[in-house]
């Protein structure tokens, strides 16, 4: 009898183990095998980036394979998710300590929030110890990853957002690049009168696309000091009437985008621009690669026009580099640095330029031959930009940015007023000190 009781317990345990082991073999303990320092063993480097889509995906697959080939015994464990999902995932991974050895990051406040976890490696010495390598990068791009005089990232892609326009349409109608907001609106009216029902469009279902507009418009409108105070967590009030005015201008501008704008995504509207259906689209230089797919599209671009009452720098450029960070907890720091340097090496940057069609921070990687038209000019524009502004969602706390982006979307859909939206932004900003420590 007694024996039976024990057997019973054992059997039940066994039953549970069946469940557990059923999947154990496939569950190759992902967190445990990051460090195979021992000689002869493979060393695994975990790499997490945000470009699962083509053509970038193929490029990173190539990088992974090439690096593994050149470094026998090294295995790159690569993962990727797109955009908003990446934003959420990487934050969680960094905070939970399951941090990948090498990972991509946006700049500025986004990077800063990752750095604040204390788990991101300070790369200053990596730059200092190898001045020859440091020289290969466009110097003004490092500042977006510099906090308290320490550099925490290696910028890789370089970007800026401007209005691209269809040259054929502009020439046919005798239109010129607008310099001021009023000229811009007049231009849109003219296009409309000439039969372009939606002279400009944007995929406003993607809330980040709304953010890109509002970020630039805020920068143009406000003086840098006011902006800095309001964007910083805990001190933001957003009471300056300029913010409300920006939303009113946004209301005006989005009215030209037609009723469908809030139900499509950025990719769809970019395709409309490429197909020549819409004359103007706000695009990143990083998207130049898509434009080359259609050779008969003639395009040019102009910077965001300035408001007559604007206090911000009219020559400022919105756009920020993206780059790579290294975990402070990595067991293979030297290898991680080597890998990052491998990605941003002139040869691979040139390959990226050629395959993907967007710019890197590596000097000389872009040539007339390997780049879509307009690239070299764009690089010059970024290098000489009087001021660069990060994307709105990288520049402020996520909850304030969310209020801005959803609000902007609601304004475009005609279901919210600028007054209400700015109030929601103010409320979100006011809650910050209470919500975050």
């Amino acid at each position: 009898m007694y024996r039976m009781g024990r057997r019973l317990g054992l059997l039940m345990l066994a039953g549970l183990l069946v469940v557990m082991t059923a999947c154990n073999s496939n569950n190759s303990t992902p967190s445990a095998n990051g460090n195979g320092d021992a000689k002869g063993k493979t060393t695994t480097l975990k790499f997490f980036h945000r470009w699962p889509n083509e053509p970038r995906n193929s490029y990173f697959n190539y990088i992974k394979e090439e690096f593994e080939k050149q470094n026998p015994g090294v295995k790159i464990e690569m993962e990727s998710v797109l955009n908003d999902s990446y934003k959420e995932k990487i934050k969680v991974l960094v905070s939970s300590g399951e941090i990948p050895d090498v990972f991509s990051s946006w700049s500025d406040s986004f990077a800063e929030s990752l750095v604040s976890s204390g788990r991101v490696e300070d790369l200053t010495s990596m730059y200092k110890s190898d001045p020859n390598w440091t020289k290969t990068l466009v110097q003004n791009q490092m500042k977006s990853f510099t906090f308290d005089d320490k550099i925490y990232g290696v910028p890789f892609t370089m970007d800026g957002k401007v209005f691209f326009y269809n040259k054929k349409i502009f020439n046919k109608l005798g239109l010129e690049k607008p310099k001021t907001w009023d000229e811009f609106i007049a231009l849109l009216d003219k296009l409309k009168a000439s039969g372009y029902d939606t002279p400009i469009i944007e995929g406003l279902q993607d809330s980040w696309a709304v953010g890109h507009y509002l970020g630039t418009m805020n920068q143009r409108m406000m003086s840098p000091e006011v902006l800095a105070t309001d964007y910083a967590g805990g001190t933001g009030k957003f009471t300056d009437p300029g913010y409300l005015q920006v939303l009113k201008y946004w209301q005006k501008l989005s009215s030209y985008m037609g009723p469908n704008a809030t139900s499509v995504n950025h990719e769809a509207t970019r395709n409309m621009f490429i197909a020549g259906k819409v004359p103007i689209h706000y695009l990143q230089f990083a998207e130049l690669g898509y434009l080359k797919d259609k050779p008969d599209l003639e395009f040019d671009y102009f910077n965001f026009p300035q408001f007559s009452e604007g206090k911000g720098n009219a020559e400022g450029l919105t756009g920020a580099p993206e780059g790579f960070m290294i975990s402070k907890e990595t067991a293979n720091k030297a290898l991680a640095e080597k890998f990052v340097k491998f990605i941003v090496s002139p040869e691979n940057a040139a390959k990226f330029q050629h395959d993907v069609g967007s710019m890197t921070t590596v000097i000389g990687a872009a040539t007339k031959e390997n780049s879509p038209p307009g690239t070299l000019e764009a690089i010059k524009l970024i290098q000489n930009a009087a001021e660069t502004t990060p994307w709105l969602d990288n520049a402020m706390d996520a909850s304030v940015a969310d209020a801005y982006m959803r609000g902007g979307q609601a304004i475009a859909a005609g279901i919210e007023t600028p007054e209400n939206v700015i109030k929601e932004v103010q409320d979100a900003a006011a809650k910050l000190p209470a919500v975050k420590k």
């Binding site: 009898m1 007694y2 039976m4 009781g5 019973l8 317990g9 039940m12 039953g15 549970l16 959420e88 934050k91 969680v92 960094v94 905070s95 939970s96 929030s113 604040s116 976890s117 406003l204 279902q205 993607d206 809330s207 009723p259 469908n260 704008a261 809030t262 139900s263 499509v264 769809a268 996520a398 909850s399 969310d402 959803r406 609000g407 979307q409 609601a410 304004i411 475009a412 859909a413 005609g414 279901i415 919210e416 809650k431 209470a434 919500v435 975050k436 420590k437």
Partner: protein, 294 residues
Amino acid sequence: MRTRRTIAPYLFVLPCVLMLAVFVYMPLIQNFFYSFQNVSLLSGKSSFAGFDNYRTLFSDPVVGKALINNVKYAVISLIFQVGFGLVLAAILEEEFLRKVSTVFRTIFFIPVIISITVICLLFSFVYDPTEGLLNMFLHSVGLDAWAKPWLGSGDTAIYAVIAVSQWQSIGYCMMLFIVAIQKIPRDLYEAAKIDGAGRVKIFFSITLPQVKEMIFVNSLLTITGAFMVFNEPFILTKGGGPGTSSITIAVLMYQNGFVKDSMGYAATISLLIFVITAVLALIQTLSFRTGKGD
């Protein structure tokens, strides 16, 4: 002898109780603690917040908006899934359809077993403003004025989202009603027919009262489901857009927790969901136990 008698049953029950305790009950209780804290995943820090999260909950206009959307969800689902689902079931159980009813049944039930992710991705093709099936269909039959940016307009977004759920779930309710109707004694119908009752009269005087229990169960299930809707707005309108016009309470919880990193507030919202769904579930469980069951 006695030791075995006392230990054996506990050993049988133990794994189950353990699983429930760790993965179901403990989180529920922890929710309660989190709701009094500011929890940030990113910094890993948490601090005592008192009733702050509750104050936010009651003053947050989006909570109200989300709840209204959930109520719309519930009402429309009641009409379509429970109402039409019952009618559909009654029709399919009609004598003259007996031979083909299995085919119909299967057709209406197929959407139920397709993953909601698949369905939502499919319907983003249906709703596309320029190249979507729905608008193209409207254009091709000359109803151009009806074509709309379904998911992008504040007026239609929530209804477009709700419609997808109806499309998917009506077959589920229908199936439950069919099961219930098949249990109704046939002689009741025979007797009514002999009395010369019409079809509509038979439906109201026999079918309806006989499936009362199932109507009740279906209604509760549908309402509970309506207060937990997450996938449809999360995928179709990218988290309840435009603005917050198609947001639901579960999406709001997700956004606060995993986008804005306010885990404490997210836990508070989930307590609200708990209260709503637990009340509904309690009603169901109690009535199950007192009722004759089916």
